[in-house]
């Protein structure tokens, strides 16, 4: 990210002395960086890990076909988990905001409990506990089920924040038009809420994609487990895992860039919406919709 204007908080336009100090620091930083790289390269070279034939396999198509196959499995597991977790999360959020206590309490309990249990523990439960009770899921679902269960809680909190950020008047207007609560929710509140939390949904999904690396434990052949199998086979351990890390880096950096772009677009759009609202002479107090950030406003 480019230095935001807010970072001006800490320094002015540099004068001659400050410019000299900045130049010296720059030189020192570059030197330190080069020293680090040199040290790393020496460690690689001393242990013979830089030899060309240890890297050449990663330029061949069969290797990439294998890795891309793993990536496809990662994507499949991620997409299915995201769909399941998002649907469950939306249901949980609605349940937690429902007027009925019998719906509210179990949903709240689910979210609060699951949020404080590590995903790996859930994976172990599915791997080692459920088969004892006769529920032996296929490999794919052994990864997808615990990921969905644990991420549903995170998605629920995102959706809840979004729903609560929609002005109370929106729901009331729907009710006064004679819609039932459920229809007002579905047709008026939820579409606005979903739009507002879109950036958070994308970044949570990127987090879930990272979580699919738990396939390493499940031995589901996603990217990381494929790397493990590959490294066992070709003994190019550090090379393989570095390539895997690079693949994850490229994909997740792209996803988080999408999330940031969405967020930036949203920061500009609601102000237009607010202008339109005041221009149209809507009866609600103008400007409330300008703060798009899902703040915990007491609605519903």
């Amino acid at each position: 990210m480019s230095p935001s204007p807010t970072s001006r908080l800490l320094f002015d336009e540099p004068g001659p002395r400050a410019r000299r100090r900045i130049r010296i620091t720059t030189a020192l930083t570059v030197l330190a960086g080069l020293a680090l790289v040199a040290l790393a390269l020496r460690q690689f070279a001393d242990n013979g890990q830089l030899a060309a034939d240890r890297w050449r396999p990663f330029g061949t198509w069969p290797m990439w076909r294998y890795l891309l196959e793993g990536l496809r499995s990662t994507a499949l597991a991620a997409v299915v988990s995201i769909a399941l977790a998002m649907a469950a999360g939306a249901a949980l959020a609605l349940g937690r905001l429902s007027p009925s206590r019998w719906l509210r309490l179990p949903c709240a309990a689910y979210v609060e409990v699951v949020r404080t249990v590590p995903a790996l523990l859930l994976v172990y439960v599915v791997l080692f506990a459920l088969p004892r009770y006769g529920l032996d899921l296929p490999l794919f679902w052994k990864l997808v089920v615990p990921l969905s269960v644990s991420n549903a809680a995170a998605f629920a909190e995102i959706f809840r924040a979004g729903i609560r950020s929609v002005e109370r008047g929106q729901l009331e207007a729907g009710l006064s038009l004679g819609l039932t609560r459920g229809r007002a929710m579905r047709m008026i509140v939820l579409p606005q809420a979903a739009r507002r939390v879109l950036p958070s949904l994308v970044s949570q999904s990127a987090g879930l994609l990272k979580d699919t690396s738990l396939g390493y434990v499940v031995s589901y052949a996603e990217l990381l487990y494929s790397g493990k199998v590959l490294a066992n086979y070709n003994h190019l351990l550090i090379q393989t895992y570095l390539v895997i890390a690079l693949i994850y880096l490229v994909i997740n950096a792209t996803l988080s860039k999408v999330a940031r772009t969405l967020e930036a677009r949203q920061r500009t759009r609601p102000s237009r919406a607010a202008r339109a609202a005041t221009g149209g002479g809507a009866g609600t107090s103008a400007g409330t919709s300008a703060d798009a950030v899902p703040t915990a406003r007491p609605t519903l």
Binding site: S7, L9, L10, T29, V117, L120, K210, L237, L249
Partner: protein, 214 residues
């Protein structure tokens, strides 16, 4: 219920290891986070870029990949470190990226006048950061840092996947020996809930003590 009392020492050891991993990683993450956040708001472009590369690289690769790389990869290039040490360092660096983002948002929340006042008094950049900006910035991000602490606690479980016998791995081992999954995993889950409850309480107390009302 006997399963738990019979294996109390395993659970206790696992719990201690989890607590140790969490506290040490958190301390490291706080140091790394503050340093990287300072780099990202500094007037030196190279430092800002380095901070950004750090945050992006660490955040965009799964922690498990970093752990595997550190535990199995580093010995290949002659870097030997104990299992526990490597796990602590990796988790600390990983959470450090998240901490840096939280601290940076705190720095950006400090009113501009504070920085201007610091400069008007003749403080240099490191001085104004250390004496004026950071104390205020850290106070505003107690809650986000608490969330990072809970995330760290959850993430220490991943150390089980590379062979550290912390709480999750201990529960799994006891289960492999005893095959009474419900009690064992529920106990482990309750222990995690208790730990994150404790973190939540500590965060709340700190927040009440430190928050600046603006």
């Amino acid at each position: 219920m006997n399963v738990i009392t019979d294996h109390l020492s395993e659970f206790g050891d696992g719990l201690l290891l989890t607590v140790g991993l969490t506290l040490l990683s958190l301390a490291g993450a706080l140091v790394a986070g503050v340093v990287v956040a300072a780099m990202r708001v500094s007037p030196v472009r190279v430092l800002r870029a380095a901070g950004m590369v750090y945050v992006e690289t660490l955040q965009n690769v799964p922690l498990l990949v970093w752990l595997v790389l550190a535990v199995f990869g580093l010995p290949e290039i002659g870097v030997m470190a104990g299992l526990f040490t490597s796990s602590v360092v990796v988790i600390a660096l990983y959470q450090g990226a998240y901490t840096a983002e939280a601290v940076r948002s705190g720095i950006n929340a400090v009113p501009v006048g504070q920085g201007e006042a610091a400069r008007a008094l003749g403080l240099t950049f490191p001085q104004s950061l250390r004496l004026v900006i950071l104390p205020q910035a850290l106070r505003t991000v107690v809650q986000p840092l608490g969330n990072i602490a809970i995330m760290t606690l959850m993430n220490t479980a991943l150390a089980a996947a590379v062979g550290v016998v912390e709480l999750t791995a201990a529960a799994n081992r006891v289960n492999l020996a005893e095959a009474r999954p419900i009690w064992i995993f529920v106990t482990a889950g309750l222990a995690y809930m208790a730990l994150s409850g404790a973190i939540g309480l500590a965060t709340g107390t700190l927040e009440r003590k430190l928050a600046i009302l603006r």
